[in-house]
Symmetry: C2
Subunit: 288 residues, 2 copies
């Protein structure tokens, strides 16, 4: 397996899928504001996970493309709303001015609402027998008990004392939910059985936790120019982070332990798991 | 048919349905902010329409209750976001302080996002054979080519010269889409055929247009205490309204003409249409 080539194939599919979205009936300015954030690059981790998971479980990557686009829309909406002046008040994202800096606050709120709505509209127009099921997976992951709930806990607990249980809950919600969802959806679209869905859940959850711990570490120690965003903000805003709870060395170990669990969960799949396992291991390289 | 008794039955069902929503996994403060706006009264027009349409088309009102709740969640989310300081900057809604006045801007944005997400999460958990179809009806109506698109046109055209085509487009999007959706969904859940869906579409669209024209008229001529919100804002903000385009007298006539079309569309249903037809006619009474 050539990991980089395969990752690029997935990423290209996701980019082309997102580029092809026409947002029928949307006013031009709304389309523009939505596209500004949706097509501004990024690793497309969540979209690639949907395609890779579907193939790992024996399906065709194409079958997971609508879901890949939907989960990237949800991710883009969450970033637009998170960056708003009344939220994290961020002006830079992936090296570009944030949505509200370019389009104003009102349009940024509407562009986020538009991406959130269109994610479901897009999935609701699909014919795949598992279309309704994976829409439900996405709704739950994005919603009040998932990503959004985690974001609320994140915002409302700024400045509070470190608390490992709470940080874990925040990370599981705000990050792991939307990383687990495309893995689950990919498996579901490939027709996975209960055991398959269990392993997808474990892999996604542990990868998601590791990913957020690494993100916390990079906010402390990363290179702003390389990352294209403002760093050191977690500390400045009194955010609850994993390294703030357990120290940076233990945080690094915890991330590695999560990745071990993620990798092990997929062992029953044999060679088919190799791409997802390598992707998980690579998550750690950014902080090692 | 006792119209008031039937309307009350529907409204009570919707209120009870909304009250019973538990928003599993949501942080307490998010639930509270969502419930503040969702359970703050209102006519429940959209929810009642779903139940009434389902019965009119030969189905059971109960079958449309999840959709009725979902459409009321979408309506509540749209009001929370519309009222934000960067949008219409409204501080009073149904006689109560608006969501961001009580919970702050960040939580109001998140509460709106939560209601939008949960509307789809709720529908995605339903077993009815038409559940996926009506979720699609709602997504399209709420989204970029529907309510949200209309809201964008509304916000971006403030202060522009009156233009009947544009006002019609705004009204169809921002109001008629989310009034048509529950009628379509009610019919779909009752198993209506193509002809039935056509009549649902016409009824909903015309009722929705009339409803917004009446709303425009009330903003000019209504009683703020009676309506529980700030009036005269359309003119103050330079909003494009129907009466501003065609004059108040012609606007009144146009609303009546829409209602005639709505009523006529349902004539093939005979007696079963009586409730929906009376509801349409009553829309006009507020400005006559």
């Amino acid at each position: 397996m050539n990991f980089e080539a395969q990752l690029n194939r997935y990423k290209t599919m996701v980019e082309e899928g997102l580029n092809a979205l026409s947002f029928p009936g949307a006013p031009e300015i709304l389309k523009e504001a939505m596209r500004y954030s949706l097509l501004s690059g990024g690793k497309r981790l969540r979209g690639c996970l949907a395609l890779a998971a579907c193939e790992a479980a024996g399906g065709k990557a194409e079958d997971a493309l609508p879901f890949a686009c939907a989960v990237e829309m949800i991710h883009a909406y969450s970033l637009i709303h998170d960056d708003l002046p009344s939220m994290d008040n961020d002006t830079l994202r992936r090296g570009k001015p944030t949505n509200h800096v370019v389009y104003g606050e009102a349009m940024a709120i509407l562009a986020g609402d538009g991406l959130l709505s269109y994610a479901f509209e897009h999935l609701s127009s699909q014919q795949h027998p598992a279309a309704f099921r994976v829409l439900g997976i996405l709704a739950k992951a994005a919603g009040v008990g998932g990503m959004l709930g985690g974001q609320v806990l994140d915002v409302t607990n700024e400045g509070k004392a470190s608390d490992e249980t709470l940080v874990r809950q925040i990370h599981l919600g705000k990050t792991a939910a939307l990383i687990t969802a495309p893995v689950l959806a990919g498996f579901a679209l490939a027709g996975a059985d209960e055991a398959g869905m269990e392993m997808a859940e474990t892999y996604g959850r542990q990868l998601g936790l590791a990913f957020q711990i690494v993100d916390d570490l990079l906010d402390l120690e990363g290179d702003a120019a390389l990352m294209g965003k403002t760093l050191g903000k977690d500390v400045a805003e009194g955010k609850l982070t994993w390294p703030a709870c357990v120290g940076t060395e233990k945080a690094r170990q915890d991330a590695a332990a999560c990745i071990d669990l993620a990798v092990a969960a997929l062992n029953p799949l044999g060679e088919k798991a190799l791409f997802l396992q390598t992707l998980a291991e690579n998550t750690l390289h950014r902080v090692q």
